[in-house]
């Protein structure tokens, strides 16, 4: 079970979004994201690295290469919170630096950590690997088989 963000943090829209460095999907959106990724040619797959867990998929890559599916969340880096990938469009109501230290202290795996406020998930992405069609396909099949 991935560590969860403590409830007291609230998020509000940023006036100036972060540059997107990753895209994440949770639940059905993760499945849609995986299908979208699997639809491209092998050469295009090489543009992304990623991590996948139960009901969650995070892809990292250049901003212009990140795929889109409805409901996906784009993540970027705030200079004040270098260990985190934060939603591009949302800012926490606490100091990003404090949030950075708090979440890193609670995480059991390495950084950076993708922060997904709506589902309350923290996804370590330090172990992200180049996307493999076989691995992603197997993950998708397993997710689809799970009720």
């Amino acid at each position: 079970m991935e560590p969860r963000i403590q409830q007291p943090v609230e998020w509000s829209p940023r006036a100036l979004p972060l540059q997107a460095l990753a895209v994440a999907g949770v639940g059905p959106v993760a499945l849609a994201l995986a299908r979208r990724v699997l639809a491209v040619e092998d050469t295009a797959l090489a543009r992304w690295s990623g991590v996948a867990g139960p009901g969650v998929l995070v892809l990292l890559g250049d901003t212009e290469s990140l795929p889109w599916v409805d409901g996906a969340v784009y993540l970027g880096r705030d200079a004040a919170a270098p260990s985190l990938l934060l939603p591009c469009t949302l800012a926490p109501d606490v100091s990003p630096a404090l949030l950075d230290r708090a979440l890193v202290a609670r995480a059991r795996a390495g950084t950076p950590l993708a922060v997904l406020p709506r589902s309350g998930q923290l996804v370590p992405v330090g172990a992200a690997r180049p996307v493999s069609r076989e691995t992603l396909g197997a993950w998708l099949a397993k997710q689809e088989a799970t009720p």
Partner: protein, 386 residues
């Protein structure tokens, strides 16, 4: 029949849209030249060589009514190369007059590349021309129709005298080489330059109508907000000279006029960013004025407003325009390669929307375009894997 204010604003907006076609990362510069022309101020462009600065000015001049005097200054440039040669016939009569036909004193738009390399003789004469629109040399005294002079340089001058001269260029913009992500656009834009002859144009009459509206604009409602913004800049260590602060109002009024509004508002204060003289100062100004810049909006100067403020409304407007443009360019279903490429562009716009706006703060206009994009993406499947 005189041109109405709304007709003038509309014709200039259309002309600017066409002038910016094919240019990459220079759309804001095209708009700034027009803004300065309406305001009666001058623009300084700082950036590396080969960044399409002259092309942007040339196009804007053509779009607004035609005619642009341009010259690359050097250490050994003679005044006669800029202002015109001495009239030899009159010289024989003992009168020192300058023949100005086709030269800077008769231009409505001027582009001076490497402007700070000009000699003292050139820059001193330029000073009067820029400030008072009067050309003085020998016995020649003439009023000049110059609306805007665009100076370009690789860097801001460090010499004090040159810095004082640079201060005559109220607006500043800093350009970079085209980023990797837009290289395809750059190549396509270069290939389309030959078709520019079909672009729509406005007229100097339209510019005059807008300039008059700008001069007559009631700045009263916006002045408290402007004063607050200036105090905020001062508190952040960005000190503008008294002259620059006062003249900034001209850009505010001109921005409103170009957008078809007769009363400037906080939506026009993004122009203040361009009055900050250094790149670092502009970046800091964007940060400390963030809340105010969130109100930025200008349908005629969308790129310049966006670049100045990166504000939500300006960003939304630009993304919406981009989305509609891509949606309108749908290729035939039979052309699977073109269709796949089109789909990628749609996805790019959708990504920009979702990476730029939280769902709860998505502007209404953008929401409409997003729904159309989503429907189009659902209809066209991604290219099949090999």
């Amino acid at each position: 029949m005189s041109l109405s204010f709304q007709a003038a604003a509309s014709s200039v907006r259309e002309a600017l849209t066409d002038a910016g076609q094919g240019l990459v990362e220079r759309e804001a510069m095209v708009e700034l030249v027009a803004l300065c022309a309406v305001a009666g101020e001058h623009l300084l462009v700082i950036g590396p060589p080969g960044t399409a600065k002259s092309e942007a000015v040339r196009r804007t001049a053509r779009a607004l009514g035609g005619g642009c005097f341009e010259y690359l200054l050097g250490r050994f440039t003679e005044p006669s190369e800029i202002f015109g040669p001495v009239d030899l016939r009159k010289l024989r009569e003992g009168v020192v007059e300058t023949e100005t036909a086709g030269m800077l004193p008769e231009a409505e738009v001027a582009f001076l590349d490497e402007v700070f390399l000009g000699s003292t003789a050139i820059l001193n004469t330029l000073l009067g021309l820029l400030n008072e629109r009067v050309f003085r040399r020998g016995h020649t005294r003439m009023h000049c129709p110059l609306r805007v002079c665009v100076g370009a340089s690789n860097a801001l001058p460090e010499d004090e005298a040159l810095a004082a001269f640079a201060d005559r260029f109220l607006a500043r913009t800093f350009v970079e080489s085209v980023p990797d992500t837009r290289l395809e656009d750059l190549l396509a834009g270069g290939a389309s330059l030959a078709r520019f002859a079909e672009a729509r144009t406005a007229s100097w009459e339209a510019v005059d109508v807008l300039a008059r509206a700008a001069r007559e604009a009631d700045l009263g409602p916006v002045r408290p907000h402007l004063a607050h913004a200036l105090r905020t800049l001062r508190a952040a260590g960005i000190g503008l000279s008294d002259r620059r602060m006062v003249k900034a109002q001209r850009l505010v009024s001109a921005a409103a006029a170009l957008a078809g509004r007769t009363t400037p508002s906080v939506a026009d204060l993004w122009t203040l960013i361009y009055v900050v003289p250094s790149k670092e100062g502009q970046a800091l100004a964007r940060d400390v004025l963030r809340e105010l810049l969130a109100h930025s909006e200008n349908s005629a100067l969308a790129a310049a407003a966006l670049e100045a403020s990166a504000g939500p409304l300006a960003r939304a407007q630009r993304i919406a325009q981009s989305g509609r443009s891509v949606l309108a360019g749908r290729p035939p279903d039979a052309d699977s390669e073109a269709l796949a490429s089109w789909r990628l562009k749609l996805e790019g716009v959708a990504r920009e929307m979702d990476a730029g706006f939280a769902p709860e703060s998505l502007p209404e206009d953008l929401q409409t375009v997003r729904e159309e994009l989503r429907a189009a993406l659902a209809q066209v499947a991604p290219a099949a894997a090999a």
